[in-house]
Assembly symmetry: C2
């Protein structure tokens, strides 16, 4: 069978299953999530055996340590996956809630309720835990999933997804709600991106290259996630200690994630006093600093930043630094170079805080806090399928609500339109 | 200048304008809408002159009467466009409302507010009134627009859009919020579909061919609108008079629109009694009926339906008819052939009404009312930019709310993440 046909069949099976899943009760879905969690723990030896083979191949292929670490599973990581599923089971069901209701002059009663989206495609890279996390969240919101993981984690993902699918069916979910793409062929991704009418949305989770490929080639609607060129602007009125604490946290607490800071902007009025303090604090963390000419006049130990630095997501212990004349210049810089993810101002000026929040174009705009908080758990959603950097459907951390659509239910007594 | 560069410049101008427009007050936006309305009426002779030239060319090109009618403007139609803008001015501003707020255990205050999307691209066909309607709605929600109308209406659209843009600027809106594509070259459409990062969404309004082209080729997010293969299911317990009244209204009150019925399904238990009555009522409206074998046994005057009929949006006085054994078969038929627009059941059976609404997958699912009500005005939104048949972002009639995105505003006092 060719890959297009294979993908079509998987998507058709998922679509059929999604129609049944859409009307399954919360209790049955939650039971399925708990049985899925149990299955991962009880049969962990299957997963670990598959993962050992994946790891062995990855080592022989010379993949670097950080990659191997993302790929690696142990009992503890399997336990965490299982716990994630159990937590998802405890979250409120997002399906069936009303968010608009009206009675029209002609007597028609119109309600808008949340419904599952249908079939969600997830294309992801190294981490095998995404298989369990994404499947669990999609199922809780009543959606079938079509999962396509990275080829390096193929055996791990197959072990996890087949355990999950079996447990889901045993718990009473319709057969076929979890579909996994078993072929490592990249053509499967392109086939997936053209399953219009069967796949309702595709969510890429991974590096910038994967996301760009999906956005540029998909005729299925896409939710774009995860690229973050995040900024911290230290305003003239900032508390220096707070500014340094926030900057150090935003840059160094987890440099590889998308809500980490990449560029620090500082008001020229305080730059001469602030930058040496910052340089000292960041130097302690072994950070490479790349600065514009004005900052380097103050701190000659900093390297020279190029135009490219302003739009680079380092994901590493590197920070670009720029001195700006005022708030307007800071906002203009951010709106020119950011990816619409998370931005923060450190200030004691009410008006500047307000303008920054209004005028900066990003999913999350902070006053006096670290950008590292942009996350579904930190925002109180109890879960996260990713962080949307686009403006349609969902923006910022996506919890269960972002995995639903809506439907109008209209009750009449024979009304016709004039 | 090549077309790609031209489109990029227009989109960049729109993007810059959209940043300023996003923070303009409701009062200024509403004043602009009223001045835009006045300008259309006061300078109607400019529009009518341009329209006469468009009409003359269309006549010479041999375009059919219904097409010419859609293209034609007169004082009355211009007045209606102006009134549409004035009504938009009176609607509540969708921007800045909260829809989520929480204080986290660490003291972070998180609010989610509605914000404009940014720059909205509209690609449309014959009707020049879309120029005013779409520009007015986008502006009210704080968005800049990039408009691309059909080439047959080029001069009419240019006259309208330049009057609107002038009036908007005079009222105090930033220059460049209304961008119109003056070239009839189709390459402009394809360039538009790849303005990723500048255009936040593109909404195609027109025939199935246009919509398919946009969905298949756009790397900018798309909101798909307007294809409607809508069904009426007449259940065994239906009130016959009500069923016929609803069916006649759904099919014949405006056959060319997307919420008109295309297929009628009838329960086999009542088909022998119901279909002759339906046939008589529809015959009075000069309707062509295309039926399956079982219906034709009862009403031999009906034509034979082919497989293709079940998925055809006639947009005309043609109806396909099928006898089904039960509710399950009706739901299965609808979920197989519909376009996710509007479906109705005529029934007196509570459980069937409930199952139909839950299990039919469409934007609007009715009980005992005509599908013709699916419309932003009828649903109480006061306006409509189109009817979404997709599940992401917006589904069903799209009012002003659908033209907004959201943004998280976070207030802290120095919080950092552990």
């Amino acid at each position: 069978m060719d890959i297009q046909e294979l993908m079509r069949q998987k998507a058709q099976a998922a679509k059929a299953a999604s129609r049944q899943l859409a009307v399954v009760s919360t209790g049955v879905k939650d039971k399925a999530l708990r049985l899925m969690a149990d299955a991962l723990e009880k049969r962990s030896e299957l997963i670990l055996k598959a993962n050992a083979l994946d790891l062995e191949d990855a080592r022989q292929a010379g993949l670097k340590h950080s990659y191997l670490d993302r790929l690696m599973l142990d009992e503890n990581r399997i336990h965490k996956m299982a716990e994630g599923l159990r937590q998802t089971a405890m979250l409120p069901d997002p399906v069936a809630r009303d968010d608009y209701a009206t009675v029209r002059p002609n007597g028609l009663e119109i309600r808008r309720v949340r419904v599952p989206i249908g079939v969600i495609g997830i294309i992801y890279e190294a981490r095998p835990n995404v298989t369990a996390d994404a499947a669990g969240l999609c199922l809780k919101a009543g959606n079938a999933v079509l999962l396509r993981g990275g080829k390096e984690a193929l055996r791990s993902n197959m072990a996890i997804s087949s355990l999950l699918a079996d447990a889901a069916t045993k718990a009473g979910l319709p057969q076929g709600v979890i579909q996994f793409v078993e072929t490592p062929d990249r053509a499967a991704v392109d086939a997936m991106l053209h399953l219009t009418g069967l796949l309702d949305v595709v969510i890429p989770r991974g590096g910038a290259g994967l996301i760009r490929h999906v956005v540029e080639n998909s005729s299925v609607p896409v939710i774009q996630t995860g690229t973050g060129v995040c900024h911290t602007f230290v305003d003239a009125s900032a508390d220096f200690d707070m500014a340094i604490r926030i900057a150090v946290n935003a840059k160094t607490s987890h440099p590889s994630v998308c809500n980490a800071m990449e560029t620090l902007l500082v008001h020229e009025a305080i730059a001469p006093e602030f930058l040496p303090k910052l340089s000292w604090a960041m130097g302690e963390k072994h950070l490479e600093m790349r600065a514009d000419a004005r900052a380097r006049e103050i701190c000659p130990e900093m390297h020279e930043a190029t135009e490219e630095d302003w739009s680079t997501e380092y994901g590493d212990l590197i920070l670009s630094i720029k001195v700006v004349p005022d708030l307007d210049a800071a906002i203009a810089h951010i709106n020119k170079y950011n990816t619409g993810h998370s931005e923060t101002i450190v200030t004691n000026d009410l008006r500047n805080a307000h303008r920054f929040q209004r005028e900066v174009d990003a999913a999350a705009v902070y006053v006096n806090a670290s950008t590292r908080f942009t996350d579904g758990f930190e925002f109180g959603f109890g879960a996260e399928i990713g962080i949307s950097t686009q403006k349609l459907h969902a923006r910022g951390p996506m919890g269960l609500e972002a995995l639903t659509s809506m439907k109008y239910l209209i009750y009449g007594e024979g009304q016709i339109r004039e």
